[in-house]
Each structure stands twice: as structure tokens, then as C-alpha cells.
Amino acid sequence: MQSTRSAALSRALRTAVRSHPHTAKRYNSSIALLSQRRQPQSQQQSQPHSILTRPVSYPLQNPQPQTRHASSASSPADLQKTPLYDLHVSHGGKMVPFGGFHMPVQYSSLGVAQSHLFTRSHASLFDVSHMVQRLILGPGAAAFLERITPSDCKSLEPHKSTLSALMTLDGKGGISDDTIITKLGEDRFYVVTNAGCREKDNNYIDREMAKWNTEMGHEGLKVKEEQLDGWGLVAIQGPKAEEVLQGVLAATDVDLKKLLFGGSCYAKVKYGDGKVSSELLISRGGYTGEDGFEISIPPAETVGVTEAFLAAGPEKIQLAGLGARDSLRLEAGMCLYGHDLNDSITPVEAGLSWIIPKERRSENAGYYGADVIAKQLVPRSKGGAGVHRRRIGLLVEGAPAREGAEIVSRSEDGKEVVSLGTVTSGCPSPSLGKNIAMGYIKDGFHKAGTEVDILVRGRPRKAVVTKMPFVPTKYWKGIAPA
């Protein structure tokens, strides 16, 4: 049985953002009869768990070795610090290991729920410098990216960003990491990937780039990579984000109203005593569903620029940590790699078909797994392969369902209860006052309104499949026509 085991109190006090931080693939692709897995509850609870042993009761279906993700265990000595480490500590940041870094999970001034709500009503500043910032450069940059991702990098307009996926090299259509790609120029792309996948992505890109550069016909299409090591990446999110950022821009002629969601620009920021920063890449977007910006800052300027943002005052902007970031992105229906996405889940299964533009939907689109994806994009009812599981949102009654909780059919009319899937993220939603979750469910049960049960601590809880985002997004798409 796959009921979510929660941590002992003592462990929960110690844990990072999530109660089960890491083993990537917890969910099952196979649909097995629940009765075969069901064990008496007493059996499951008979072993007291010491605070040092983490009970992991989820059978991993995929035997291949797991890559390290976000907060995978590494000893504190190995952990790196972002340029803002001291700033976090001085603001009462409770630091936890995440993605190989010391990161703030929350701050002493606000609890996670308050910080979450403050982001939705005002603005929050998140340090996301742990994420990997790369430049992919050279005349072959767009073509190279089109081999490893399903995005249309050639047609992407300059200074526009797109959510994308590094596709697994086995050609099965899985997602090796999710990423945001920003086109800075025809031969210049800014690519941000997950901190927890740093090593894996480095190997992936190094290998693929070496292969690309030595291939016949690529003599004039060489690519190289430059990592922005030690750089800061700061996200300002919330309805006050624009006001805060506009207030510190050095040039008065940069009008953020003209910078729309998914766009980016360069601008200088005033900070410290009369200093002006270098040109910073400012992208409009984020990971909360709110209007907001992500600002890439050279190492030496990160603290000063961040302090300039915070100088707008705590009534407008506050620091927020990983705790609020996780619940905010979940309300916005966004995936967290290593939890909601992994090597064995395709973009189609993940409900991310929209990241694949029309031009790249054919079997010979040229990216890894294109043939698998092209077949999946066509539903079975129309002669395609379709998918057998889909990522869905859930509203859960009673107990919050968290990662690993099993989704089963409603036990009604004496019908046999069958396993339908697994929750991959879940929490009580501070904005809605309801329990929200996302997970993968057997195709056919994915329609909004479908009633299912979720096993939490061995007991079925009523849940209903729900459209995402759970909370409407508020991206800035320009002034609405009158």
C-alpha cells in the first residue's frame, strides 16, 4: 500500500521543504490491483521509526540508478552558499540543504502560510541563485537546442523565453530536466536549469555538445557553453513586484509596463550609495503564478542589488523561502522536477504538450524522442498512441495528500477498489483553505470532476480531479483593451 508516511515530529522539524525530499521516481506507471498491495495498517505501523530512519514505502518501478535532485542528501560540509547566504542569515532565514546549497526555507518574520499570502497580496523576494544559469553560444546554438529540446529556438523571438525540457537521450521521450530558455540573440541563449540536476545536466550538455561539434556538417555551427557560476538570480513575485523593480531602475526611460510576461530586457539598477549596477537581464515571469521578475546579477553586485529591492520596505516586499515557493508553485499548477517530472515521464503525460510548438510536432522534428512524442500527441481515439497516464490536479477532503499517496477508485457499490495513480506534490493551499495536490492518474480518469479516493495514512480520503492552476495566474500580458 502506498499511503503517505509522514515523518515523526522530530524529523518534520528538521526536514527541508517536503516531508519526503528525495527519491525521484515514486510513482508507478503500472496500474495494479490495489488489493494486491494492500497490507493491514497495523503491519505498516508496527515498526516505530527512529528519527534517523526515513521510511520509504514506495516501490521504485524503474531500477535504473537515480540522479540526484533538489535536496538530495549531501553532507552540510559539501553544501555551497549563494551570494545571499549572509543576507538570509541576518534576516532570520532558517537554512536547510537544498539542491546542494544552504537555502532559506522560511524566515523568522513570517510563517510559510503568511509568507505565501504576502506574496499573493504584496511581493516577495526569493533567492534562486542555486539554480544553474548557462549561456549556450555560437552559430549552431539554436539548432543544437532544437536537438535536445522540443522548443522552436530558431523562431523564438529575441528576448522571449519559453518553458522547455531537456529530453532524455534514450529517445523514449522522458524529461531529463525542465528548463527556461531565453533567446538573447541568434547565437546566444540563456538557459536556466534545476540546481538538483546540476551534475546530470552538466554531463548531458557536455556530452551532447562534444558530439554536436564533431559531427559532419557542423563545422560552421559550433556551440559552446558558459556557466554563470556564482552569479545571483533573484525572483521578485507578487502584485507589488513591478512597483518595487521600477523604483530602483537607473534609467527612467525603461517602462516595465511594456515588458510582458515571457519577455526580458537589460536594465541597470541603482543600489548602495549612488552606485549603478551593470546591465542586468530582467525576465518577466516566475514560479508563483503571480506577475513578477527574475533578475540575473553578477556575483559582486548580488547583495547590493538585492538590498536595493528590499529597501522598498517590508510593507511592500519581504524575503520568502523555499516553503512558500513550493506552495505557491503548486497553487499555480507548476511542476517541480524530481517530484512531478522525471526521466520516465513525457511532456505529453505531464500536460506540457503546449511547450511543443506546432512546427515541432512531427516524428522527424529532430529532437530526442520526437517519434514517441508525435505518436503520444495524437489520442488513441484518433489512431495515435495517446498516453496511459496524465498529470492532473486534485482537491482533497480532510487530510492533505502529499507526495507518494496512492490514488484509487472510489469504493462504491461493492466495486473492487483499483489503483489509479500516485500523488506527486500536495499541500494545504493557503490561498484556498483547501488541500490541493497534483499527481498522475490513469488515462480516462483525468477529466475534471472525476471523483476518486486518495490513501493518506492508510485511509481513503475523498478527492476530485480539478483543473489547474488552482489559483488563477496573474501574468502581465499588457493593458487589456478597453
Binding site: 503517505t4 515523518a7 515523526a8 518534520a12 503568511q114 506552495s327 499541500c427
Partner: protein
């Protein structure tokens, strides 16, 4: 900072409290209890507390103020099952905040005789008065303790030891 209830308890004449206490123990359905100053409170390393009554047969359990504070705003409490007999360390319920779920483990071997149903409606009581065992308090359950439970109880920390323990925990 001690809860109001604890402050009151310290000030209450013990004889009076003993009478009230024994009365409350015999009527299980009584909506509130008044605890005696001669009850002993002990803590587990996993941040549960238990008050053992003077008769050494009954007790009240909950989660510590330290834990409640550290967990942040609790939005859901899963209460133990009434009538269930459990061993020390068994998961008997859970508390959940936005960011995490934590098991409540039985601090000693015991039988659950009554649960604090108010928490289902008002999980916030656990944050406000986690160590209060009166009506409106954040106590989790009332229990019966047998010989094994008494032995388990002896191994737990008193409040001074617990304070020292939490001071050393790196949070």
C-alpha cells in the same frame, strides 16, 4: 513561555485540584478536565508530552510547545482512534502544516480513551495552547496507562531535561 493553563495550574490549591481531577477522570465523556498539580509531565525526544495522573493509571498526551512553534501554523490534525491500544512509538495521529506532515507517536504504551475533537475544527489551538489539557486546549488524547506504559514513562524526560534537549537541537 508557559501557557495560561499552566500558570493557573501552578497557582491552584492542590487538594481542590485533586478532587476535581479524580472526578473528571471517571467521567470519560466530560467535555473538559481539570488537571492536578501533582500530575507529572514528561516529554519524548520526538516532542510529545504526557501528563500522568496521580493514580498512575490515566494520562493526557499532546505535542510540545516547542514542536508546535517549530512546525508553524498547523492546519490539520489527524486524531488517534478511540479505543485503540498502542505501543510506545506507534504513530497514532498526525499534525500538518503547509510545508510538512508529522506523525504523532504514542509517548508510552497506552489505550486511547478520549480524543480532543475540538482540534478537528480548530487545529490552531495546537499552535496557541499545545500543552494545555483543558477544554479548548491543544491536548491530543486521554489515555489509560498499564504497567508497560508506566515503565515507558520512567524513560522519558522531565521538563528541565526536555528544555535542555531542545536547546541543543539545531533548529
Amino acid at each position: 513561555m508557559a501557557s495560561i493553563a499552566r500558570c493557573l495550574r501552578a497557582a491552584r490549591p492542590s487538594a481542590f485540584a485533586a478532587v476535581r481531577s479524580s472526578a473528571s477522570r471517571t467521567v470519560v465523556a466530560r467535555p473538559f478536565s481539570v488537571t492536578a498539580s501533582n500530575e507529572i509531565r514528561k516529554y519524548t525526544k520526538e516532542h510529545e508530552w504526557i501528563d500522568l495522573a496521580a493514580d498512575k493509571k490515566t494520562g493526557v498526551i499532546g505535542i510540545s510547545e516547542y514542536a508546535a512553534k517549530a512546525l508553524g501554523d498547523l492546519v490539520y490534525v489527524e486524531l488517534p482512534e478511540e479505543g485503540r491500544t498502542v505501543n510506545k512509538g506507534d504513530a497514532i495521529g498526525a499534525v500538518e502544516s503547509v510545508k510538512s506532515a508529522a506523525d504523532i507517536n504514542a509517548p508510552v504504551s497506552c489505550k486511547i480513551t478520549q480524543i480532543n475533537l475540538v482540534l478537528e475544527e480548530k487545529p490552531g489551538n495546537l499552535n496557541q495552547v499545545p500543552e494545555d489539557d483543558s477544554h479548548g486546549g491543544g491536548w491530543i488524547a486521554k489515555v489509560q496507562v498499564d504497567e508497560q506504559g508506566l515503565q515507558d514513562f520512567e524513560t522519558l524526560m522531565d521538563s528541565e531535561q526536555y528544555n535542555e534537549f531542545t536547546a541543543n537541537e539545531d533548529h
